[in-house]
Each structure stands twice: as structure tokens, then as C-alpha cells.
């Protein structure tokens, strides 16, 4: 057997092994999370290695426990879900509002200093969140905005605006210039062109960017911990879950139910728009 033949065969087999391995490491943890959330803690302790749940053990009480309000002896995750939704949607709206004109300007218009501004927006994306955490923590303490959901949304805007500009810009440069010239000939001003021509064309990119921003805001943990830790009524789901894990009396299965509740909205959104999102993220990566 020649070297080429050997290699073809070897990599042919190896490829399937790799594919199986990837499927296992990406799906199994999520399956495990779901599995544990559906059984009582005794069943877990009795047989930690089990990969399924027997019908006699199957229970949804973990979810009841997590979602029920604290007054009824639950963990109040419905409230946290609402808080998370408010903060995330607010962040998406504010971020897009702030990012669209800037992304349009740096992708289309050759104004004085546009290279510098464009580089600045990109550089900001790479600044550490910890550098931001300190002053924002102080400012919000001063303004009495700590433990406020509005304050948190503003902090998230700081986190997401740069990446939103980057994604939108990459898409906008692909829209042919002639479309805009045609619009200008029809007597539309720039603002009208942006609103009536460019934005509808960029809708897929706007959705992808919005979705990505939503995910960042929904998953965020550090700032929620810094700003809201003292006020349980304002907790977002990630913070609620993290605080729950510190309580010794909460069974791990209930924690897993909380994890599922936190993860499901993101995964649903993601599968609904997977193609759009991946293209939005990587556009610009494939040109050399």
C-alpha cells in the first residue's frame, strides 16, 4: 500500500472518530444537564453513573421548585426570567440604536478620520471588561444606579456596542453602492436611504447582530454579580443560579433544573437563526 493510499484510508477512518468525539463532547453535557434535572437527588446519589432516568424516578418537581416564587417556598426563577428578558431586550434595542449609524458611516462614508474611528471601535472591543468594571461600579454607586436593571442594561451596551458595530459593518460593505446612488437619484436623502433602503436590505444582519447581543446580555454574569448581588428582587437568571449554588441546602438536581431554564431560551433562539448568526459572525473571515 502506498503512502497516499494509507493516508487516505487512515484519515477516512479518523474523520469519523473525530466526528463521533465532537458529537459526544458537545451534546453529552447538555443531555446530562437535562437528565439530572429530571430525577430526584436520591436517584443521583444512588447511581451517579446512570445515563438515563427510570420512569419511577422521573420527576418535574425540580422545575416546580425552581420556578415557584420565593413566597411559596420556591426559588423564584420566573421573576429572574422576567428580569433577564427585560435587561436583554433593552440591551438589544439600545445597542442597535447606537451601533447602526456608526456602522453605516464607517462602512460607507469617507469622512475625515474614518480610519481612526473605525480602528478605535475595533480596539474598544478588545479592552478588558475588568477595566470597565471598576469605574462603572463606582459611577453606579455614586448615581445610586447599582441594583437597577436600567444601569445593568447600560453596562451591557458598553460590552456589546463594539462587536455590534463590527458585525454590522462587515455586512453593510457588501451592499452594492449603486443601490444607494439610485436612491439618491430618486431624491432620497441619506437618512431616508438608510431607513428605507439600507436597513431593509440589512435586516438579516440586524437580526443576527441583535441575536448575538441578546445572547451576550442573557448569559452575562460578572456585572450582574457586581451590581445586583445585594438585591434578590433584581437578580437575572445567571446570578440567581450562581447564588442558588452557594446555598448548601439546594439539591444539585434543582440546580440543574435552573440551568436548563437558563439555557433553553438561548438554545431555542439559536436554533431558530443558526445559519444567519454564524454567517453574521464570520462574514469577512473568508476573504483573503
Amino acid at each position: 500500500m502506498s503512502r497516499a493510499q494509507f493516508e487516505e484510508r487512515f484519515f477516512g477512518v479518523l474523520r469519523w472518530i473525530v466526528i463521533a468525539f465532537l458529537a459526544v463532547i458537545t451534546v453529552l453535557p447538555f443531555y446530562y444537564m437535562l437528565l439530572l434535572s429530571l430525577k430526584p437527588i436520591d436517584a443521583l446519589l444512588l447511581d451517579p453513573g446512570s445515563l438515563w432516568v427510570s420512569t419511577k424516578d422521573f420527576t418535574l418537581s425540580t422545575y416546580r421548585d425552581v420556578l415557584r416564587s420565593t413566597d411559596d417556598g420556591g426559588q423564584g426563577f420566573l421573576k429572574f426570567l422576567l428580569n433577564s428578558a427585560l435587561v436583554s431586550l433593552g440591551t438589544v434595542a439600545l445597542t442597535l440604536l447606537a451601533a447602526v449609524p456608526g456602522a453605516y458611516a464607517i462602512s460607507r462614508l469617507k469622512f475625515f478620520g474614518h480610519r481612526q474611528v473605525s480602528a478605535l471601535f475595533l480596539a474598544v472591543y478588545l479592552f478588558p471588561a475588568t477595566l470597565l468594571a471598576v469605574p462603572l461600579f463606582v459611577v453606579f454607586a455614586k448615581l445610586h444606579l447599582s441594583s437597577s436593571l436600567v444601569g445593568l442594561a447600560i453596562v451591557y451596551v458598553a460590552q456589546t456596542v463594539p462587536v455590534a458595530i463590527y458585525m454590522l459593518k462587515n455586512y453593510l460593505v457588501t451592499i452594492p453602492y449603486s443601490i444607494e446612488e439610485a436612491a439618491a437619484l430618486d431624491g432620497l436623502s441619506r437618512l431616508q436611504t438608510l431607513r428605507k433602503v439600507i436597513l431593509p436590505l440589512a435586516l438579516p444582519s440586524l437580526m443576527a447582530t441583535g441575536l448575538y447581543v441578546f445572547m451576550i446580555a442573557w448569559n452575562e454574569f460578572l456585572f450582574a454579580l457586581l451590581f445586583l448581588a445585594a438585591d434578590p428582587g433584581k437578580w437575572t437568571v445567571p446570578l440567581g443560579l450562581a447564588q442558588l449554588s452557594n446555598g448548601v441546602e439546594v439539591p444539585k438536581t434543582v440546580l440543574m433544573a435552573g440551568s436548563v431554564v437558563l439555557t433553553i431560551p438561548v438554545i431555542l433562539l439559536f436554533f431558530a437563526a443558526e445559519r444567519m448568526l454564524t454567517e453574521g459572525l464570520t462574514s469577512g473571515a473568508d476573504k483573503s
Binding site: 451517579p48 460607507r108 462614508l109 451596551v157 437618512l191
Partner: protein
């Protein structure tokens, strides 16, 4: 919605900014480039103001705070410019474990960056050619990246637990482990190999594995997108010449992928270097995983020492800039190629 409000808004806009008609004093109409210049500045300014207020000014303020005595209790009465001091840096550099934490951060970052890009590359190569279920697998493979870090770090914590974790249970059944291994709280795990004893930093390796697992989809996405843009002709020609798969990878694909890999190295390095939540949630910074970002958080919340926290964050950022400077000095061209 009617169009009337929009129209009035439009008229106001042209009234302010439109330089289309000659001005009263008879000057020539503006050239197209000047018009674009004005429009550009007008469009970019709202975004610029937002970025300035929520990002740039806070960062500048961090720099100021790092040189002042500032605890959260007295911040209320403090002006922007207090007494300048270098005490915070004394404290940061002098505090126990500063240098070891910087070393830990570096190990963690290099390990996780390398791991996630290597795994992403392998995944992209394996999923390059279509097969049944590829779309589904590709989507599933992005799960670690999009799922909330709090949820996935719990799953790892539970799965790796010595008491009720599935990993230790299966390890005992399949590999005959005698004692359960505490992956997340063992600073040094003694390994016996060929009669030699040595310690491996188990908790640190575990968080590196976690970070690799969580971020390989990101590298995978970018590398796959680039792979699919490689012209078919190149590889066909190599195939005709009898190149083996490794040769084709080494001489055809890798040169094509180098720019995107270089860009990923920069991005992942920067983002991992500053990573806080993964390590904090998994180990709380214990067992030899005290990365610098967790120390910033500790200064801020355990002692409410804003000045020290700012100084620590600043040291972190400067260290990062130095590393990036070195990187660009040696690999700058490749990254430039990709991002331009």
C-alpha cells in the same frame, strides 16, 4: 404608522445639513467628498458619543483611580483628581502571589488559546466535506459557545464532582480508579509514570480544558468559513500530482488558513487573558487557578478597595499590551492581511 412624522423629520434634516443648493452668499455647492465628509461625521457622532461615555471615559477613569487612594466608602466625596499616589501599585506588586498569578494567567491563556484553536481546526477539517447530518452536528457543536457560562460551568462541576459526578463513577468502572479525583480542587496531582513521580496542576488543566471546550466552536466557525472559500482547483491540482492528505494539508490548506488562525490567536488570547467568569465559577480562583481577572474582582468586592482593583486591572491591561506588541512585531503581517 403614518408617514407624516417621518417626513417632517426629513425636512428638518435637509434644512440643517443639506449642502445641496448653493448658499446665499453665492459660494459653489460643496463637492461630493465634502458632503460625504459631513454626512459621515453626522452619522458616526451618536455612536461615537455612546462609545465615549460608556467605554472610553470609564477606562480613562480607571487609569486615574489606579493612582489614588480610593475605597468605595470615601468615593462619594472624592473629586476626580485626588491625591496622586503609587501605593496601589506597591500593594498590587507586593501582594502575596502576584507574580505567580500572572504566571497562572499566562499558562491558562496560552493553553486555552492553543487548545481551542487546535480543536476548532480539527473539527473544521472533519466537517469540511458534506455528510448526512452535518448541518445538525455543526449547529450542535456551537452549543458550548452560545450556552450561558453559569449553566455549563455547573454541569462540569457536577459531572466532575468526586461524590456524585459521572466522570469519577465511569472512571472507576472503566479504568479502575481507586480514589475519586477532585478535578477542580486539586492543586497538584501526583502522577506515577515509569517509576517517576511528578505533579501536574490538575485544577488549572481542568479549567484550560473547560475553556478549550467552550471556545473551540468559535475557532471552528471562522476556520470552516475560510476553508470553504479555498478554491477547488488548488487541491485538485495537488491531488493529480499525487500529494497525500497530510501533504495537501501542509502545503495547500495551511498557508491559506494561516491568516485566519493568526487573527484567532490574537482574539482568543486577548479575550481569554481577561476572562473572569469561567474560572470564578469553576474554582473561585482556588487550587492554583487564581488568574489576574479574579484578583481584580477580589480587590473590588472583598475589600472594596477601588484603587487597588483599578491598579490590578491596569497592570493586567499593560501586560496584555506588551504581549500584543511582541506578537505584532513578529506576526503582524499575517493579522493585518486578514483584518484588512
Amino acid at each position: 404608522m403614518t408617514t407624516a412624522p417621518a417626513d417632517t423629520g426629513q425636512r428638518r434634516h435637509t434644512g440643517d445639513g443639506s449642502p445641496d443648493r448653493p448658499t446665499e452668499d453665492g459660494r459653489r455647492p460643496m463637492t461630493a467628498s465634502r458632503r460625504a465628509n459631513r454626512a459621515g461625521l453626522a452619522f458616526v457622532s451618536p455612536t461615537f458619543v455612546v462609545v465615549l461615555v460608556v467605554v472610553i471615559l470609564p477606562i480613562l477613569w480607571t487609569v486615574l483611580l489606579a493612582f489614588q487612594h480610593a475605597r468605595l466608602v470615601d468615593i462619594q466625596g472624592m473629586g476626580l483628581f485626588g491625591h496622586w499616589t503609587l501605593d496601589n501599585f506597591d500593594q498590587v506588586f507586593g501582594s502575596a502571589g502576584f507574580w505567580s498569578s500572572l504566571g497562572t494567567t499566562l499558562l491558562y491563556t496560552v493553553g486555552a488559546t492553543f487548545g481551542s484553536i487546535a480543536l476548532g481546526l480539527i473539527a473544521a477539517l472533519a466537517l469540511r466535506k458534506p455528510f448526512r447530518g452535518r448541518g445538525l452536528l455543526r449547529a450542535a457543536m456551537l452549543l458550548p459557545y452560545v450556552a450561558p457560562v453559569v449553566a455549563v460551568s455547573f454541569v462540569w462541576e457536577v459531572a466532575l464532582s468526586p461524590q456524585y459526578g459521572i466522570v469519577n463513577e465511569w472512571g472507576r468502572r472503566l479504568f479502575g480508579w481507586d480514589d475519586p479525583i477532585a478535578f477542580l480542587s486539586t492543586r497538584a496531582y501526583e502522577v506515577h509514570l515509569l517509576g517517576l513521580h511528578f505533579d501536574i496542576p490538575l485544577a488549572l488543566l481542568t479549567v484550560i480544558a473547560f475553556e478549550t471546550w467552550r471556545y473551540f466552536p468559535f475557532a471552528f466557525l471562522f476556520i470552516l468559513a475560510r476553508l470553504q472559500a479555498v478554491p477547488d482547483g488548488l487541491e485538485e491540482a495537488a491531488l493529480v500530482d499525487g500529494a497525500t492528505p497530510t501533504q495537501r494539508f501542509r502545503h495547500i490548506l495551511l498557508p491559506q488558513l494561516m491568516p485566519v488562525i493568526a487573527l484567532l490567536c490574537v482574539l482568543r488570547f486577548i479575550l481569554t487573558f481577561n476572562k473572569f467568569d469561567d474560572v470564578y465559577l469553576l474554582t473561585g480562583g482556588g487550587a492554583g487557578t487564581d488568574v489576574a481577572a479574579v484578583r481584580v474582582y477580589d480587590f473590588l468586592t472583598a475589600r472594596y478597595d477601588v484603587g487597588a482593583a483599578a491598579a490590578q486591572a491596569l497592570v493586567l491591561a499593560v501586560a496584555l499590551m506588551i504581549l500584543m506588541g511582541l506578537y505584532f512585531k513578529f506576526f503582524g503581517n499575517k493579522v493585518q492581511e486578514e483584518s484588512s
